[in-house]
């Protein structure tokens, strides 16, 4: 902060010190404002894609799932979750099994069904941890594992009484158990019959 050389400095040098305090005050205020108004972390999402509803696509163009290889999960009210494997059997009331959300319930079952892919994913994760492969390779290999032939197909069906959380939890399990092929389907009367059968402990055919 020199007053300049040209000025004939006969007069006393005035000490020009600008008071920064108001500026700092304002700065503090602005920072506080921005800190309170921002969302630093973006929310998490899960990406899903559903089959098209288009009537013009013929049924045989859609990818068909062999019923015998599919695991069907039924989500019901009060956080109840049921599952069955293969083609529904209406005569045996205990064909449909009740399980629970979380590690010991549905996850254990799906991991058992998908043991091959789960094992491969663990190996892959290990490789990634050791920096043997990069991210692009990792995601490619992971999708290969998930879409391999041996992996089961999971059909998720929710009753109207189930909640959104149930659906998200079920979708979550798909990710945890590295299941690549899953679909959210509409629940039919025949599926509800299975739940009724289990509750009553008797066999019963669905009414057509």
């Amino acid at each position: 902060m020199s007053t300049g050389k040209k000025s004939k400095s006969k007069q006393k040098k005035i000490n020009v010190r600008v008071d920064f305090t108001p500026m700092v005050d304002m700065m503090m205020l602005l920072i506080t404002f921005f800190m309170l108004c921002t969302t630093l972390s973006k929310p998490q999402t899960m990406e899903i894609s559903v089959p098209s509803n288009d009537k013009s696509i013929k049924d045989n163009d859609r990818s068909q799932v062999k019923a015998s290889q599919a695991v069907t999960i039924l989500l019901d009210a009060n956080d109840k979750i049921y599952y069955f494997e293969g083609i529904p059997n209406y005569t045996d009331p205990h064909f449909l099994k009740e399980t629970s959300y979380g590690a010991n319930g549905i996850r254990a079952i799906l991991k058992r069904k998908n043991v091959f892919a789960v094992q491969q994913k663990i190996d892959l994760d290990q490789k990634k941890l050791l920096r043997k492969i990069n991210d692009a390779q990792y995601s490619k290999m992971l999708s290969d594992i998930k879409s391999a032939k041996q992996t089961p197909t999971v059909i998720i069906k929710a009753t109207d009484q189930a909640t959104y959380k149930n659906l998200v939890d079920a979708l979550d399990e798909m990710q945890i158990c590295s299941i690549g092929k899953y679909v959210i389907d509409v629940i039919k009367a025949s599926d509800k019959q299975l739940i009724t059968n289990l509750k009553n402990g008797t066999g019963g055919q669905p009414q057509q």
């Binding site: 700065m27 894609s49 559903v50 509803n53 288009d54 189930a162 659906l167 979708l171």
Partner: protein, 194 residues
């Protein structure tokens, strides 16, 4: 003092550059937790807000898209809106009033009063006479105004599945087959612990 104000300027710049403002939502939505770690895209998002009772609201992040969408919608439903009403619509963070009530709703001057009205409204999702529902039309026109728009559904954890199913079905009907579900992060519980 100088180092301190230096740091402050730095902080201020940081916050100004990274900030995206919190959108004030008319309804409180507690999203379910998930282990998925995909982040939502930072722009071109059409978020669909579904509350516990099944009311549907929407928000767009670009004001130009909002403007274009509103014009198309008001043409379709033959709702004349003044410039002032339009600017109110664009400035509001979230929209979700049936088109029939749109004019009346946007005539309300204070933003606080509008928010109260908005809470009781919601976009109708039922289709009349096989036509597209209002919800579907909003999505269609929003997509038209910005083809890169991605759809994100933010629904409350306790929303009945029937409502989610309806929203998903309507999106399916208009061939929107890929979308995001907004969740909050949770850690994966290991099997051993239980």
């Amino acid at each position: 003092m100088t180092p301190m104000s230096d740091v402050m300027v730095l902080l201020l710049t940081f916050f100004m550059l990274t900030s995206t403002f919190v959108k004030k939502e008319p309804v409180k939505v507690a999203t379910p937790a998930s282990v998925s770690e995909i982040k939502i895209p930072s722009k071109d998002v059409l978020s669909i807000l579904v509350d516990k009772t099944g009311k549907v609201f929407m928000s767009l992040d670009k004001q130009t898209d909002l403007d274009a969408t509103l014009s198309s919608m008001s043409d379709l439903y033959q709702t004349e809106l003044t410039a002032q009403q339009k600017s109110r619509f664009i400035k509001d963070p979230v929209f979700g009033v049936p088109m029939k009530q749109m004019g009346q709703f946007l005539s309300v001057g204070s933003a606080g009063d509008r928010e109260k009205l908005l809470k009781q409204a919601g976009i109708p999702c039922d289709s009349v006479n096989g036509q597209h529902s209002e919800f579907e039309n909003w999505v269609i026109y929003a997509k038209q105004s910005n083809p890169y728009l991605k759809i994100a559904i933010k629904a409350d954890a306790v929303t009945p599945y029937s409502i989610i199913k309806q929203v998903m079905n309507e999106l399916q009907d208009i061939r929107e087959n890929r979308y995001y579900l907004i969740t909050s992060l949770k850690k994966l519980q290991e099997d051993k612990k239980q």
